[in-house]
């Protein structure tokens, strides 16, 4: 016969949550490992254009970036509103690109030197004049593999 227990308050047992931190930590480590922090602090305003035929940049260590755009508000007093080039963390002139590529290439492993890719992150309102100058500089520096950074276009 079933027994009906009477008397004596019965407490609902608490759910054991001791493994919750483990799960969350695992998620946390996953995100920490897969994400990359921003490479540089932007001094120029860059909104890359949109395109559909995109290719991913595979090896980060083989890619160097050239940023082109109008200087951010706080730098406009010093540098004006004309489009400018940023290499690493500083403003640069187009003539300095050759030197920059040369230095970067020498800093790389010898076997990787031929695989150097230059990604041009330019603002979409930049005039082609400066881009053409950059391209000519890259040609002189023998950095022929380039990539025009763009984002995926969702619709026309």
């Amino acid at each position: 016969m079933a027994q009906i227990r009477k008397g004596g308050k019965k407490e609902v047992p608490g759910v054991n949550t001791s493994s919750l931190p483990d799960i969350v930590f695992m998620l946390l480590f996953f995100f920490m490992a897969t994400t990359t922090m921003k490479e540089v602090s932007f001094k120029v305003d860059v909104k890359v254009p949109e395109a559909t035929e995109l290719q991913k940049l595979e090896k980060k260590s083989l890619v160097r970036y050239i940023y082109v755009g109008t200087p951010m508000k706080e730098y406009q007093k010093m540098y004006g509103k004309e489009s400018r080039v940023q290499l690493d963390d500083a403003f640069a002139e187009v003539d300095e690109i050759e030197m920059f590529i040369e230095n970067e290439r020498n800093a790389m492993k010898e076997s990787d030197q031929g695989l150097l890719t230059v990604s041009i992150k330019a603002d979409k309102d930049t005039k082609m004049g400066i881009i053409t100058d950059i391209k000519q500089a890259l040609r002189r520096a023998q950095a022929l593999k380039i990539n025009y950074a763009a984002t995926k276009r969702m619709s026309y």
């Binding site: 949550t17 001791s18 919750l20 931190p21 969350v24 930590f25 998620l27 946390l28 995100f31 920490m32 897969t34 994400t35 990359t36 922090m37 890359v48 254009p49 395109a51 559909t52 035929e53 995109l54 290719q55 991913k56 940049l57 980060k60 890619v63 082109v68 890719t117 990604s119 330019a122 603002d123 979409k124 309102d125 930049t126 005039k127 082609m128 004049g129 881009i131 053409t132 391209k135 000519q136 890259l138 040609r139 002189r140 023998q142 950095a143 022929l144 593999k145 380039i146 990539n147 025009y148 950074a149 763009a150 984002t151 995926k152 026309y156």
Partner: protein
């Protein structure tokens, strides 16, 4: 001792809160690395003190795209919207009707190699192998327009390759092919986008 004393447990319930907080911070502050763009190859520099080589290209083989400083497109001498460019470039590359104003057709072959370097399959097709798409822009053209045009031209090529691979490889798109097959299709339809040496056509910088 008479009664067993219980060891007090450490209260770990705050741990979850802390790790959630960290997790959410990382989720918000990071962006998945999505570095992508249009890959292109620049022509090697001209040796100094050398005249530009005059490459003889038959007039019917050149597809001229000009972009002026007002971002207008002149394709083969006609004003055109950028949205029509892809179709126009495709008809030029394929020249399916063997038009005499479009590049001449040649039979080309490419071999699909297997892992040991043996020929697995020989591909053969008729294409316009001598065509060149010549792209010229002004210094005043905006970068956005330039990328849009480049994108359309690359898209024209990838549609041509896609159509071919669907026909030859039983409905598989170009991206679904093996690297060896992709290479062979690329040899059949190479991208021939040439950018002229820059000129400044009047107007301000």
């Amino acid at each position: 001792m008479a009664n067993k004393r219980k060891l007090p447990e450490i209260n770990a319930s705050q741990m979850a809160d802390i790790s959630f907080l960290l997790l959410i911070f990382w989720l918000c502050s990071t962006t998945m690395s999505t570095d992508q763009g249009l890959s292109r190859r620049l022509p090697p520099p001209l040796p100094p003190n050398m005249e530009k080589p005059d490459v003889e290209v038959n007039e019917r083989n050149i597809f001229i795209v000009l972009i002026n400083s007002q971002n207008q497109l002149l394709v083969q001498g006609e004003l055109m919207d950028v949205r029509q460019l892809r179709e126009e470039a495709k008809t030029f590359i394929l020249n399916a009707e063997n038009d005499i104003h479009m590049p001449e057709l040649f039979e080309v072959t490419a071999d699909v190699l297997d892992k040991n370097g043996n020929v697995e399959r020989a591909l053969k097709t008729v294409t316009t192998k001598n065509h060149v798409i010549s792209l010229q822009n002004d210094r005043g053209t905006t970068y956005e327009k330039y990328i849009e045009v480049q994108n359309e031209l690359v898209a024209a090529y990838s549609e041509v390759r896609d159509a071919y691979s669907r026909r030859e490889f039983g409905g598989l798109s170009f991206n679904e092919l093996t690297p060896e097959q992709q290479e062979a299709v690329q040899t059949l339809f190479p991208q021939k986008i040439s950018e002229a040496e820059p000129k400044n056509y009047g107007g301000k910088k």
